[in-house]
Amino acid sequence: MTRYIVRRLLQSIPLLFIISFVLFAFTNSLGDPLAVFAESRNRPTAAQREEITRRLGLDKPLLEQYLYWLVGNDWTLVDVRGDGSVMEPGTREGVLRGDFGNSFVTRRPAWSRIEERLPGTLVLMIPSYIITLILAIAIGVYSSVRQYSFIDNLVTGLSFFFYSMPIFFIALMVIYIFGVQFTRWGLPALPIGGTGNGTFLDLQLHMIMPVFCLVAIQLAGYVRFIRSSMIEVLSQDYVRTARAKGLSERIVVQRHAFKNAALPLVTLIGLDLPFLLAGAVVTERIFAWPGMGRLFIESFERADVPVMMAILILLCVMVVVFQILTDVVYTWFDPRIRY
């Protein structure tokens, strides 16, 4: 097992290098980070812009920029005037030494921006994911056992109703009803946007609407997945054997059917978990939630390559780690699997 994990980790290293280069090329083609000055007052002159460009290293060919991103540029000199008259030593240490560079926008380490936003994202994403899973398992198992019953049809119908709606529509409807209309009707209204004043109760109040929206759009997919997986397992011979042994229906469903049906679910969760860190772009934006999804979009809009790269690399590493974890968890669900 340990050897297997070590082997998988070693295999992932070249993979991460390739992905990081592709992502670097992609993020660098998104535009000019200095373009935001175009419509501003008292903007820098063309010569000043060029000097800033050189200090940021944006005048270099892509491969060279990638190299500096990787290993830093503190071993070389930066020609800030472009004519060799002023040579400044580079200041970056590179990703391999834990330096993701400074954000072009805030001039703070890109990593510190992630540290600011990660807690907000986790506070929103983890509870909504747990609620989604609990509800999905409860509903999915129920609908598989009571196929085509009234409740099965109702719940499946409802979950598809939400599934088919764009998230921004649900989010704005919820805000409009519980935030705006409730105020107009003189009812206690929910707070719109943000995470509140720092108390736990206020945080919960601010979470109600975004968590509801996230659960509403994710639920259907999981329900359908669990339902079909359960139906398949319930028709297997070993389930009939378990029933023939005289086991109670509850034990049959929970221990014999669900545990086997859960294996593909584990794969799905393993694939989904790392993306909880990425946050929910639309939900965070509409509910003014200080999370990673918003950070990524804000960085995207300003072509802030260091921050975008830090987020993407974090996600890549997490995907690799969770894939390995998923493989490990398999062995618990299915003792036949050995590495």
Binding site: R41, E51, T106, R302
Partner: protein, 562 residues
């Protein structure tokens, strides 16, 4: 399956319990003003940002030498008086300013605010190692800054500078750095670019101090008791960041926000309808939304549509666009069409007039220019179709205008292909293949900023200057139209350097006349800053700054209703 039922009823009870404890999310206590911002400030050092929201946040905590109020007059803040030739603050040849500060000024930490802070700030502007994104014009013009005594300093420029607000005071210099905080960083690192104070400021000179910054969420400001114009009556100001305008307007309608700057013109009707207590105030800040025409040649590096080089075609396009309908229908009548790049400034020529919408005259001009209507309804000449690429940013209100103009031009047989790009691509540099920089368009819609306090107009002296046409050897050139008029360049030079106010004004009128006749760009309308606020939250009317100066120039007198 009783467990499922239990689970469902439990969650139902939970939700209902939560609904009960929900306190009315109505406002805020009477001492707090809550403002909604669409973007989070990217820096609290004004020199490192070109973002309007950062400027607004900075203006809450930074005092200028003087502010520009809502009538465009200068009001001294830190300075004892606004320098002029008459009071001896400016030398006869306008190359030396001697500025006196009020005595006994202090920073919020109690340290004295003296001429040393000002001199240090100017030295930072001069040192390019700081990578400032602002004050570029000051850096180019300044020869030296020296302290004469505790409260007096002298600036020397390389040429006459007739506009003190460009070189000192607001809006040219609205950030003054606390030397006792930044100097040690500068001495240690050779630059203040990465100083912690830029992002987590601790020392202030303005009406408020920043007491808390929850990244991605909000900023809390507390009234500064040491502010030179007195302590603000509103004790706490909270800026909350709402990246989504719909939810921001919802919070405004629900009374969870008191004040929102930058309401887009197209959104004004629905904001006003959403809550009867909301009021909109529009101030003009010198942004003129225009269609920039690409009249460049292939070496600059891409030519626009050949028809645009013909002034008759340009005239026809201006006649064929119904700008009045656009401002009335799409922008709620918050602004009106103009032909002047000096619109809504004291330098606007009142006799210039506005070209009326006249599609027949447009069609006649196009016929005259040889662009005849082809079989498919699109005009053509010598086998070239009159088909224009019309690009802009991704801003929704701009895209609406694009669609309307497309229809209007179609009526006179001009076909238009609409394109939109993220700002980072649209305004990108030559090296980044920026749409404007490399001329990848025929019509481009955006706004340049115009100073309202003086006739030296960056659109004229830079963005339409003959020497600024981009080319292989001049990749940083800013004249994306390719327009060149020696006469206008000469007049622009007069607006920049003449020491005679009347001569400058005459030159501004000449420029407006040339632009009206030659049409290097089709001006659409002056774009305002629209502020929405909840009138029930304030005691009496509030004064909002002009849009070129400090929005909060009068905030110490704002009062909340109790």
């Amino acid at each position: 399956m009783s467990r499922l039922r239990k689970l469902l009823s439990l969650s139902l009870v939970l939700v209902m319990a939560l609904m009960l404890v929900v306190v009315p999310a109505q406002a805020q206590d009477s001492g707090t003003l809550t403002i909604g911002f669409a973007q989070e400030p990217d820096s609290m050092n004004g020199f490192y940002s070109s973002m309007a929201f950062a400027q607004w946040a900075n203006d809450l905590v930074n005092a200028s030498l003087w502010d520009i109020d809502n009538t465009l007059s200068a009001v001294p803040v830190l300075a004892a008086e606004v320098p002029s030739v008459e009071n001896g603050g400016i030398s006869e040849d306008y190359t030396e300013y001697t500025i006196k500060l009020k005595p006994g000024l202090t920073w919020s930490d109690g340290a004295p605010l003296t001429s040393d802070d000002l001199v240090f700030t100017y030295q930072m502007i001069q040192d390019s190692a700081n990578n400032f994104l602002q004050a570029g014009t000051i850096a180019e013009a300044l020869v030296s800054a020296e302290a004469i005594d505790e409260t007096t300093f002298k600036l020397t420029f390389n040429s006459p500078k007739p506009f003190p607000e460009d070189m000192a005071g607001s809006p040219g210099l609205s950030t003054i750095l606390p030397a006792h905080i930044f100097r040690p960083v500068y001495e240690a690192e050779g630059s203040i670019e990465f100083a912690a104070e830029n992002q987590d400021p601790t020392v202030f000179s303005g009406a408020y101090t920043l007491s808390d910054w929850q990244r991605g969420e909000s900023m809390t400001f507390t009234a500064n008791p040491g502010y030179t114009l007195g302590t603000a009556k509103i004790g706490t100001v909270i800026l909350r960041f709402f990246p989504d305008t719909d939810s921001q307007y919802a919070a405004l309608a629900a009374g969870q926000l008191d004040f929102v700057p930058n309401v887009s013109e197209g959104d004004i009707p629905r904001v006003v309808e959403s809550n009867a207590d909301l009021k909109i105030v529009t101030v003009f800040g010198g942004y003129i939304e225009s269609l920039w025409l690409n009249m460049r040649s292939d070496e600059n590096p891409r030519a626009g549509h050949p028809a645009l080089k013909d002034v008759k075609v340009r005239e026809a396009l201006r006649l064929a666009i119904d700008r009045n309908t656009i401002t009335q229908e799409l922008l709620a009548g918050a602004t009106s069409p103009t032909d002047s790049i000096y619109s809504s400034s004291p330098f606007e020529n009142p006799d210039l007039g506005v070209t009326e919408y006249d599609p027949e005259a447009a069609a006649a001009l196009l016929d005259e220019a040889g662009w005849a209507v082809g079989a498919d309804g699109i005009r053509e000449k010598d086998g070239v179709k009159l088909e224009l690429r019309y690009s802009s940013t991704t801003a929704g209100w701009r895209n609406n205008i694009q669609a309307v103009i497309q229809q209007q031009l179609a009526q006179v047989g001009v076909s238009v292909i609409l394109e939109k790009y993220p700002a980072s691509e649209f305004f990108g540099s030559w090296a980044n293949n920026g749409i404007n920089a490399v001329g990848e368009y025929d019509l481009a819609q955006y706004a340049n900023n115009t100073a309202l306090t003086n006739p030296a107009n960056v659109t004229v002296y830079e963005a339409l200057n003959c020497d600024q046409i981009p080319s292989e050897s001049n990749q940083g050139g800013q004249n994306f139209t390719g327009f060149c008029s020696e006469e206008m360049d000469a007049a622009a030079q007069v607006t920049l350097t003449s020491l005679d106010a009347q001569e400058r004004l005459d030159a501004a009128y000449t420029i407006q006349q040339i632009m009206k006749e030659q049409i290097p760009l089709i001006n659409l309308f002056p774009r305002g800053d629209n502020y929405a606020y909840n009138t029930t939250r304030f005691a009496g009317e509030i004064e909002i700054g002009s849009g070129v100066g400090n929005t909060w120039f009068d905030i110490v007198n704002w009062e909340l209703a109790s």
